[in-house]
């Protein structure tokens, strides 16, 4: 499948990290990292949440300065004072949350900070021509360079980010989970671009939680655990999954989904009838029973997130009914939905779910602190206890629930978001009966995923109904009892998960919608 590539063994080393250490108050984020990247290779970085990948990227890109250790770039020891210095030296970073300016044009974003100038005026025409050239080099000459970045789909934004790296003549591009925001066919295009970059001698550090991607695109793998390099320069294609996972965790785990219970699901919890929101989804009808996990498979833009938000009351439906345990739910009212026992983990955890400056426990009890309160007075000690229990249940790291959420890694932040609806099942008041999960494992590593899957199943076994949305078909198939396939705002198929296979679902999900994703 993959075209044969010449071994990178002969290429010169461009980047070498030796014993790099970075500490933050109370945390040794990097504790002796070794990394060696050669020109023209795709070097994959693997590690669980909190292993230090994010910190390592920030050290490379000049955001943080290491406390100890050496960084050699093109044979010279370097210490980047700021991100601009790293960029000037030829290291470009494409972050998970793309750092584009939404209201500037594609060309302006590509040349941001180093616009072609004459007499202090930006040469717009030169800039547009250059941007066009770069985009066609990336195989996306069709992206209009004058269009505001806001109007591009996620994949287009990523191409613009890479264009920016090229415009800086980067010799090393660090990509932090670039595939996380992409649909299946867009990932193939990303890989094509990466191959062209490496063929031109550009080195790529590729971070992903998807092992199959690493096998497809990667040359060598370096594994981090607890801020240390546990394995360096493993061959990406031939190292076994078992070995990689064991280097990440120090234990061998299987990437498995929990067993489905033999018992049939209980009473009907949620009934949605002919729910529609113009331009988003149409005539959606579905049911979720107590103890049942219902998965919605669909691409980004298929209307699945909008559907979940509408059920939760965050959007007002144009038509249709939502019934929870037989009672009609007030549409467009989150408070009513929460009171009825609904909980949601939204897609964008930082923008939609977290108070980053607040402690973990207050984030966990954000939907339930009033239930712990007596006569309007909060009971912080009780909240902390409840949050500590949930943190233990979720294997949250670090465990101290008084820490600010900002200091947590992405995967642990996601645990806090899910944990919010587990805490809600406190001793008194309405418990969460129905959990709406929008991409619950985005940016979550293999080990933590298995835990999350088990957790979701445990909740279902306790009688909670789960409605789950995911772009990853295996996840939907492996975790759900029943699967709904969504395309272009409509539910086009419904079946028990055991009757479906990945290829069939992928085919249904993608057929006919490719054009829309591109446009």
């Amino acid at each position: 499948m993959t075209p044969p590539r010449e071994p990178a063994g002969t290429a010169p080393t461009v980047l070498r990290l030796t014993d790099v250490v970075k500490t933050f108050p109370g945390v040794r984020a990097l504790d002796g990292v070794q990394l060696e990247v050669r020109a023209g290779e795709v070097h994959c970085l693997l590690g669980q949440n909190g292993a230090g990948k994010s910190t390592l990227i920030k050290v490379l890109s000049g955001v943080h300065r290491p406390d100890e250790g050496r960084i050699e770039w093109l044979g010279q020891p370097v210490a980047f004072a700021n991100p601009q210095a790293a960029m000037r030296a030829g290291i470009a970073t494409i972050y998970q949350e793309l750092d584009l300016v939404d209201d500037l044009s594609v060309a302006e974003n590509i040349y941001l900070g180093h616009e072609p100038r004459r007499f202090g005026f930006v040469q717009r025409r030169v800039m547009a021509r250059g941007a066009r050239e770069i985009l066609s080099r990336l195989g996306h000459g069709e992206i209009p360079v004058r269009r505001a970045v806001r109007r591009l789909p996620a994949a287009g934004k990523q191409v613009v980010s890479m264009g920016r790296a090229l415009s800086r003549e980067a010799k090393l591009i660090v990509m932090d989970e670039p595939s996380a925001v992409l649909a299946h066919d867009e990932v193939a295009n990303l890989f094509r671009i990466i191959r062209e970059l490496t063929a031109a001698g550009i080195a790529v550090i590729y971070i992903s939680h998807r092992l199959e991607e690493i096998r497809e695109i990667g040359d060598r793998v370096t594994v981090l655990k607890d801020g240390r390099t546990t394995a360096a320069n493993l061959p990406a294609r031939t190292t076994s999954t078992r070995e990689l996972v064991s280097k990440m965790t120090g234990r061998t785990i299987e990437y498995v989904f929990p067993e489905r219970p033999a018992a049939a699901p209980g009473a009907e919890l949620l009934r949605v009838e002919n729910l529609s929101r113009n331009g988003e989804f149409h005539d959606v009808s579905l049911t979720v029973h107590s103890g049942e996990i219902v998965g919605i498979a669909g691409l980004v833009g298929s209307g699945r997130s909008e559907l979940l938000q509408t059920i939760f009351g965050a959007r007002r439906p144009d038509r249709g009914e939502i019934l929870v345990a037989g009672r009609r739910l007030t549409p467009g009212n989150v408070t009513a939905a929460v009171r009825a026992g609904l909980g949601m983990a939204p897609e964008e955890r930082k923008e939609q779910a977290l108070l980053l400056e607040e402690p973990i426990y207050r984030n966990m009890t954000l939907a339930s602190f009033t239930r712990y309160a007596t006569a309007g007075f909060t009971q912080a000690a009780q909240e902390r206890l409840a949050a500590e229990r949930t943190a233990a249940q979720l294997d949250l790291r670090p465990r101290d629930v008084r820490r600010r959420v900002r200091t947590l890694s992405g995967g642990n932040q996601q645990k806090v978001v899910v944990g919010r609806w587990l805490v809600s099942g406190g001793e008194r008041g309405a418990q969460t009966r129905l959990l709406l999960l929008d991409e619950p494992t985005r940016g979550v590593d293999v080990g933590a995923r298995a835990e999350l899957y088990q957790l979701i199943r445990d909740l279902a076994d306790r009688g909670v109904g789960v409605l789950l949305v995911s772009s990853e078909v295996p996840e939907v198939l492996g975790l759900s009892d029943r699967v709904l396939v969504m395309r272009e705002g409509r539910i086009i198929h419904e079946a028990s998960a055991s009757e479906l296979d990945e290829a069939t679902v992928l085919d249904m999900v993608m057929a006919g919608s490719l054009m829309e994703e591109v446009a």
Partner: protein
């Protein structure tokens, strides 16, 4: 799994050990306290400057005692307003109309008609006007979706206009002995105005730190979308925050009226700026989601101490205003850049 967790848990525990003092300096939970300590330091420095420039006055303990009360009394009305302002800013908003609301409440409470109802009528009127105007702000912002800056700016103009119309641009003298006595009464030697300030600050602290209302305020200001998706009624809460600010303005209007034994449309001029500056100097994030009542109180005290410093040295209000502007900038600069790195510097030195 469990052994893994246990191990890493232990490692984490070891990393944060050290003496109590070291942990205290590094713990992010104590950051607001460190910030307030810095403000106390500023106050001490200001008092020292006073003692150095006027040793003749500071050699008299009786004068020092009365001067402290002078500073506190000067801080009382603006302090009450700042408590409300701090809530609004933490909640992600801003209230530019506080001075105007005070003027309207003060004028409305001192019309001949209102005064005929006695002290109770005047107190009720001032507070009712404050809350009502605050509610109008809140409704415009929450349900009319006006930007807080614009809504309260419009209210600033409109409320002062109404106050001028009601008073006929005249100074309205308060003839009510009980209202006028608020400013002169002392309980156990402490001026009643200072006691009111202390009560409002205490109530504000409890409200922010110990109640669901306070928790909602932080959530709504820190991330309104997250608050909404957690089932918090963001609009209603935002509205209540402006009503709370209005309530504080009503109380402060009475305090100011009592001090002057009169009210007029121009009273409490530029109080909005003083209150915002005090809140920000006290560590409240202008973008919302973070702030402390105690810090805001210290912010107010710093300002009134500076005013006092100028007064005892016989300098003009013009000089005061120029220096005040500079101090606002300097204080915020220090808090944003220097102070944080100084604590980091200190804690790093202690580790090695």
């Amino acid at each position: 799994m469990s052994t893994q967790t246990g191990l890493s848990g232990e490692v984490a525990a070891q990393e944060v050990t050290g003496t109590r003092a070291q942990r205290w300096w590094r713990d992010e939970a104590t950051e607001p306290i460190r910030r307030n300590l810095a403000l106390v330091g500023v106050l001490v420095v200001l008092l020292l400057i006073g003692a150095i420039t006027r040793p003749d006055l500071y050699s008299d303990p009786a004068w020092i005692r009365s001067n402290v009360f002078t500073i506190l009394m000067q801080a009382s009305a603006i302090g009450v307003v700042t408590v409300g302002m701090t809530f609004v800013i933490i909640g992600g908003g801003i209230d530019l109309s506080v001075g105007a609301i005070m003027a309207l409440a003060g004028v409305w409470a001192t019309t001949l008609e209102t005064q005929s109802y006695g002290a109770g009528g005047m107190i009720f009127t001032a507070i009712a006007v404050g809350v009502a105007v605050g509610l109008v702000n809140g409704v415009l912002i929450s349900y009319g979706r006006l930007v807080p800056f614009i809504a309260t700016l419009a209210m600033l103009v409109a409320a002062r206009g109404l106050a001028a119309k009601i008073s006929g641009k005249q100074t309205q003298v308060s003839t009510n002995a009980e209202i006028n006595a608020i400013a002169t009464t002392r309980i156990l030697g402490i001026p009643l105005l200072v006691i009111i300030l202390a009560l409002v600050v205490a109530a504000g602290w409890v409200l922010l730190n110990r109640t669901t209302f306070g928790r909602r305020t932080v959530a709504v200001g820190g991330n309104p979308e997250a608050a909404r998706l957690a089932g918090i009624n963001v609009r209603r809460h935002t509205m209540l925050l402006y009503a709370l600010s209005g309530l504080c303005c009503g109380i402060a209007a009475l305090m100011l009226t009592s001090q002057a034994t009169s009210a007029q449309a121009a009273m409490a001029n530029l109080y909005e700026l003083d209150a915002i500056a005090a809140a920000i100097i006290g560590g409240t994030l202008l973008s919302g989601g973070r702030g402390t009542i105690i810090g805001a109180l210290f912010g107010v005290l710093v300002f009134s101490t500076i005013s006092n410093l100028f007064a005892i040295n016989g300098m003009t209000t013009e000089d005061q205003n120029m220096v005040k502007g500079g101090i606002i900038v300097a204080a915020v600069l220090v808090q944003q850049f220097r102070f944080k790195s100084v604590t980091q510097f200190l804690s790093r030195n202690r580790i090695t």
